[in-house]
Symmetry: C2
Subunit: 523 residues, 2 copies
């Protein structure tokens, strides 16, 4: 007889070692929170392959079906994050008698506190917002293997994130193993390459989901990388399709109900030798078909782009740092794929001899600004190490402390973004080398990068202007994080067939320093 | 009883007015030439909709089926351009007794003279070559409505093309009519909007195909634009799908056997209000399915890109002149679509107040060079008019004479391309701002655009270099069309983890002038 609870998490008692882990999970029945059914069931044979389990949740006319998963020691869980408030009833379905036909219910309360729901693509197609409509101004970072490090190291990473500007972090399920295996393994087996793709190791996943839950508590999206090409030790990336599907189903069932989860099919998909673009398309479509919560989906490249027009791709996740050295390059990606663009890897802040790891803080921050005015989003990374370790020892490898100079400037950038138009900045008069992003008629940002200009002709593209509109202008020192108002108001008049300006003040003075921007806001 | 001939074209005798037009056609039975079956058939009812006609051509094991078309006055034609030499037998199929079951044969001789076959995409996926393997170094131009102008004007255009560098011209089937209708109409009917989509006007198409044939004789590809958004008079772009399909079938049957034909589904597809992207996808797939000769296929945009990964798209045809202001922008299009990229509209050389028509000759030529080193191709256009007519009156509207300064420099560029690697120039070490195109280890081009440099550090990306390779270097003044050898030989040695150079000569002198390039060729 299974014990059953209607609370988010049931503590099964001291006899089971997973009780501690369960306590660490987020347990609420808010809208967009995590509700969990816990059931006792068969523990003989191979429950991962022999037992099917799901539950149907009903709220009036709405019915959704959630997959369950086996958590070891005879314990089964079904997780659900309700999209709507109110009373929900559920009924389980299983090929195991003990798990089948169980029923229950709960009430999803209104979301509270910092719970804005999961992040989704906005209706315009190029930005992100939480489900409650709050814009999601992506300032991402990457720490591939932070979640597999020691508890002490993970605590340090979380402590760092608490005060960092980042609201999304890219992180691998399978550790980024180059030489030594990391325990616990993701599957049962005591030696690398000697593991059973049909038997997951719940302890491994319980540890991983604990990190995801703690990120959620910090308001940080977990961009979960499902595969990567780096693990020569375990070879998890070389599984056969049925094993891939079992893995995806398991991860989706375990993690998909956390509202801060995003799915990244792979890091550098084109370097995974065992898989073709058709395999990735299958994996992406499988995730889209299997994930009832419909979390965001992307796939990250090395030298070859994926076809990001594929319907299952919700946004593009790009490695090509050169593309955000200039907004006009970055914008092309928006136009060709007609989806949000996230430049998730743009080289790392660091002092490596390797060119992917030698950005100055200034250059890192500059790429974020170029990306912003292109209407795209950018991700941070850092491979600085206090001890001159290999780059993998730095933040973007194993988390820990941030040692670079960019993060504080990205926090400043975030304040600029948050004060900007909703849902985000779009390029204005694209394809004519304006280098202006914003919202035509209302708000404009011009960013000058490493140019050291002493003046700039303040001209606005004609879109949404008819003459007489008034604007206030500010100079933004993006590196020194200062905003300096330009005195007075600018009144727009038609300059020519394409532009408006204030004939009384056609040019504004700039300080001859790099990393300057101009913000122009309608009065 | 129909008269039947095995020659390419049968002159039916003085009684029929189309004989003259037929004489102007290319008539040979070479490989890749045009073979034509001419048959007499029904002239009552509506032969365009009521009579089906095709022929099966057999050459040993190979069988291909060619569509026929009605040419008016009871005359039917079936055209075929054989891909292989040797003996071909054919048999007709029709629902009209007089046209059904006719048989014949001919021998396709080896190609001769300038007949290199149709242009295709090369196996590497990014370039073009004729069917016999000769690289096709695209230097395109555009004259939308030249083919619908008077015979005298058309003769002038052809005379201009005879000495111009262009080997591809973009041209509309339906004239680019903004105000006045042009006769003959494409369909029967005496007034605009009063025409019958079920009855083509053979005289219109006979005239058009005469232009196509004359371009072929000049070795120029006809990039035929099937639809456009400009004709407010006839509304040919607003037909229903069955009428579209009938039109496409007719044009394919009439023109597809000319080896210089390319299909452009539309100019500025996204401005055609009557059609959605799904409609264009249908049209492109219909052409791919209906054209037994499998001519090249593309679709041209205004502000929204088509999904050029669609299987029926053989190459992308881009309007965005800003993208070839810098090779690193242009290259992105190659990487996202993994197909040849042709920047078919990059603004026009001209002095218009409109920004799409005010390029200097220098800027036009510069865009070609940036495109070249990006591994892409570019198209010319010109709206200069001697008489200060509207821009539509210039070369890119109605053909005639070239008045600009770019064409001669594009001829010079073509000689550089022809002396370059086969099948074309590829970006070397893409995504690292090298601004170098060529063939790694063998051939490099660096282009400086409007930068006026007095020196340049000659560094080559490490790809295909191991040290000891020797290169000769030339300075190319792309505007003044001069090639100046740099004395001696450069012997490469490893400089760092990414580059090679000659330590004895790490920097070369440049003349401090704009529009310079450096060519580096393996000894």
């Amino acid at each position: 007889m299974s014990k059953l609870t209607r609370r988010g998490v049931m503590v099964l008692g001291g006899a089971l070692s997973l009780a501690g882990a369960a306590k660490a999970q987020i347990a609420d029945t808010e809208r967009w929170g995590l509700y969990e059914i816990i059931l006792d069931g068969p523990k003989t044979g191979n429950p991962f392959t022999e037992v099917s389990l799901s539950a149907e949740f009903r709220n009036g006319a709405q019915t959704v079906r959630m997959p369950g998963f086996y958590d070891g020691d005879g314990v089964y869980r079904i997780r659900f994050s309700p999209e709507t408030e109110g009373a929900w009833q559920w009924r389980t379905m299983s090929n195991a008698k003990a798990l089948d036909g169980r029923t229950g219910g709960f009430t999803a309360r209104p979301a509270s506190g910092d719970n804005h729901g999961p992040v989704r693509v906005t209706p315009d197609g190029y930005h992100f917002a939480y489900a409650d409509g709050t814009p999601f101004r992506q300032i991402g970072t990457t720490a591939y293997a932070w979640a597999q490090q020691s508890d002490a190291q993970c605590a340090l990473t979380l402590q760092t994130l608490k005060t960092a500007p980042f609201n999304k972090i890219r992180m691998c399920v399978y550790a980024n193993v180059k030489a030594e295996p990391i325990e616990p393994f993701a599957y049962t087996g005591t030696r690398p390459k000697d593991w059973d793709a049909k038997r997951f190791n719940p302890a491994f996943f319980r540890r991983f989901e604990d990190r995801v839950a703690k990120l959620q508590a910090l308001g940080i999206e977990a961009d979960i990388i499902l595969y990567h090409p780096y693990d020569k030790v375990h070879g998890y990336g070389e599984m056969a399709r049925p094993d891939d599907e079992r893995y995806l189903h398991y991860v989706i069932a375990r993690l998909g109900a956390y509202r801060n989860v995003w799915w990244s099919m792979a890091n550098e998909f084109d370097l995974v030798k065992a898989k073709t673009p058709a395999d990735w398309d299958h994996i992406g479509q499988f995730v889209a078909d299997s994930d009832p919560h419909q979390r965001l989906r992307s796939i990250h490249n090395c030298k070859a782009f994926f076809d990001n027009r594929k319907p299952w791709v919700t946004h593009s996740s790009i490695q090509n740092g050169m593309s955000v050295k200039d907004d006009t390059r970055a914008e092309i990606y928006r136009s060709v794929w007609e989806k949000p663009v996230v430049f998730d890897e743009i080289c790392y802040e660091g002092k490596s001899d390797l060119r992917w790891g030698n950005l100055t803080g200034e250059e890192m921050v500059s790429r974020f600004w170029h990306g912003l005015i292109a209407g795209t989003y950018v991700g941070h990374g850092e491979v600085l190490t206090a001890e001159n370790l290999s780059p993998d020892g730095g933040w973007s490898g194993i988390g820990g402390r941030l040692l670079g100079t960019s993060a504080s400037r990205l926090a400043f950038l975030k304040t600029v973004m948050e004060a900007g138009p909703k849902p985000g900045v779009d390029p204005v008069d694209k394809w004519w080398d304006r280098h202006i992003g914003g919202q035509a008629g209302q708000y404009y940002l011009r960013y000058f990068g490493d140019q050291m200009l002493s003046e700039w002709p303040l001209e606005l593209p004609k879109q949404e202007l008819s003459g007489g509109e008034q604007f206030r202008v500010e100079l933004i020192d993006t590196w020194n994080m200062k905003v300096t108002p330009v005195e007075g108001v600018f009144t727009m008049q038609k300059k020519d067939g394409y532009s408006f300006h204030d004939p009384a003040r056609p040019v504004i003075a700039l300080p001859g320093q790099p990393w300057m921007a101009v913000r122009i806001v309608r009065v």
